[in-house]
Symmetry: C2
């Protein structure tokens, strides 16, 4: 990294740093209380207690849940895999039809694509220009053999917040299908109440809310018929074997506790900064398209198409000046195809390719936004002057 510039990290949707309070709480479990929580001896029980405490804290983040409904995993990708494969394989006698949306995370879509090869049928619901699923479309797609509906809480690229309560009501009133939501991006900013949302399964990942990487959880409503995905020992009630990542789980628990305390205040703080960024871009730069819903959207997310510009070129140019954003999601970086999310909301491929995601976070302040606007305006102007794409718009 070039140190002469201000550093402005606007890629919190990709990952967040571990908060100091979280890291402090994790530290004793690397060396001092390092035992395997499945070990029967006293020392193992110290670790088991730490896992229990974290599980209790996770239930408070996922309001309405109980400790026996929390399964710790290695992260959201595994949580989504466990949810979808686990439900499908356990309930295939009842049916083999799944409903999801076209703008889910790859960790949902790739599982669905794979299940299609195994004889399952998947309905991929369209979304509107703002990235929202229509609950009526869910209703029309439900069949007697639908076993699972999986619609994300908030989108990772454009931040659109789905009408989860309405969707779950439609699902429950018209079918026996289980309802899963990927709440990875939302849990740090929105209320997550299991019963209000009416979900049976819900995925989270600690590193998206200032906890450590490599640990997540899946909420599984009591009585849900689910198979293990990873198979092995007896950990997590047999649903998720493998030695517990004790420091990671402790970190998830502490991060969850801090989110509960800060969520409201932090959401409104980043919202006002995000709106400043939005209006600055719209005022200062011509030929931009604001991608996604103007209001029903994560408070920390902005996504713009800069017409006539290659998004990766702009990303690289501002990265050289210390501003870190992304094009699509980090998980699909290196892909040649434009974002399936932007295409899903009807953005033309050439505009999708010119889009950037800005995701704010705890460290973001007013000066960061001002600096970002300054550099963005300059670099968009420069790139447009030299860009052959410009003429084609």
């Amino acid at each position: 990294m070039n140190n002469q510039y201000r550093k402005v990290y606007l890629d919190h949707a990709a990952t967040t740093p571990v908060r100091t309070e979280v890291l402090e709480e994790m530290m004793p479990y690397f060396q001092e209380f390092f035992a395997n929580p499945m070990s029967v001896h006293h020392f193992g029980q110290k670790s088991a207690e730490a896992v229990d405490l974290a599980r209790g804290r996770a239930t408070k983040l996922l309001a309405g849940s109980t400790t026996d409904e929390i399964i710790f995993t290695s992260g959201a990708t595994e949580s989504n895999n466990l949810a979808i494969y686990g439900i499908c394989f356990a309930n295939s006698d009842y049916g083999k039809h799944i409903i999801t949306s076209r703008i889910e995370h790859h960790a949902v879509l790739e599982v669905c694509h794979h299940l299609e090869k195994l004889g399952y049928e998947v309905t991929y619901l369209p979304v509107d220009r703002c990235g929202l699923v229509n609950p009526d479309d869910v209703r029309k797609s439900l069949r007697k053999d639908t076993i699972l509906v999986s619609v994300m809480h908030a989108n990772n690229e454009i931040g659109s917040i789905q009408p989860i309560e309405e969707i779950s009501r439609v699902v429950k009133e018209n079918s026996k299908a289980y309802f899963h939501t990927d709440a990875v991006q939302s849990v740090g900013y929105l209320d997550v109440d299991i019963n209000k949302m009416g979900v049976d399964l819900l995925s989270i990942s600690a590193h998206k809310f200032y906890g450590p990487k490599g640990v997540g959880a899946l909420y599984v409503r009591k009585g849900t018929k689910i198979n293990p995905f990873i198979r092995g020992g007896g950990q997590e009630g047999g649903v998720r074997p493998g030695t517990h990542n004790v420091p990671g789980i402790v970190g998830l628990g502490k991060a969850a506790e801090l989110v509960i305390t800060d969520k409201l205040k932090e959401s409104s703080r980043v919202l006002s900064l995000r709106d400043k960024l939005n209006s600055g871009i719209e005022k200062g730069i011509e030929d931009v398209i604001f991608n996604g819903h103007p209001l029903q959207r994560l408070p920390n997310n902005a996504n713009f198409a800069f017409l006539g510009i290659d998004g990766e070129a702009l990303l690289t140019a501002i990265s050289e000046q210390g501003i870190y954003v992304s094009t699509g999601s980090a998980c699909s970086s290196g892909e040649v195809e434009p974002s399936h999310v932007l295409l899903g909301i009807g953005i033309k491929p050439e505009f999708a390719r010119g889009s950037l995601r800005f995701s704010l976070g705890r460290m973001t302040n007013e000066e960061d936004i001002e600096y970002t606007l300054l550099i963005l305006e300059k670099e968009v102007r420069r790139l447009r002057e030299i860009s052959p794409l410009r003429r084609r718009v």
Copy 2:
């Protein structure tokens, strides 16, 4: 924990503490260089470089491997799942027969049991009294439709070291099957040379060699036809999606580097302590059976059946005096059934239930062994005096 006693941790096969050098190397990646290595911006590249460095170090631990053959996972359970499911699902057109042993870890056996339900056939090879697989049995079991042979390098309960080179030669000479080994327990003590061993896939877990929990790796030989197991984004060449656990991976890399330096010296150090423990138990306590092979065995492992005693009662009694050991593996704690490994080597169930595993490590010293012998003798005597089992032996 009761603080008045000496603490003697003899459960290193369950897990190990993170070494200070490892933790120090991990620390910057929690807060300072916290970016997602898949992020294209400069800050993401800092994380990607750390992952690359760790991958390079892992190749040195697994001698003969190259960086594109190392897949980072959440641990050995996932590595074993990826290896077995990944090979079976990618090669089912060629055949559906698997060969493994009766004393594999649950993370292998449970996957095999599940695959049987999906139409695969599994041959579970017996082992001799010492816990060794006979390569001739492998030869006789190989079929035209055998796609995978999975035999562990060293057993997690009794430490038996399998004749991997002979087994792999038999597999390669007589079939087109892939050969996988679970090297979780061995990699910290034995030479692991991919080509000498002749393996196509090999599983390791960082927390078994003084790295962090929640991270492991699977070696996959170039050209091996394998499916992803977890599905999602494009990480790890698409074979293992999910945001990289950067601090964990960095920790695995550093721990690997330290193992290479220390392996020889540390192996001979724990071997001499282990032998002191063995001879102390055999001299000081009557009616004990030494489980497993006397020589072809991990240097840090001892396993004894104390006749007429319930293993868990003895474990608890010595735990109260600060000595931490285990009955079977930590992963199967809470199970009512006696260890499948001990039953596999022909130990009677009542003796298997009276068995303890002692696994030594870096912190173990002479005084620990002396204290353990003292307490063991006392507690075995006490329990036998009050035990109703005693009379039945």
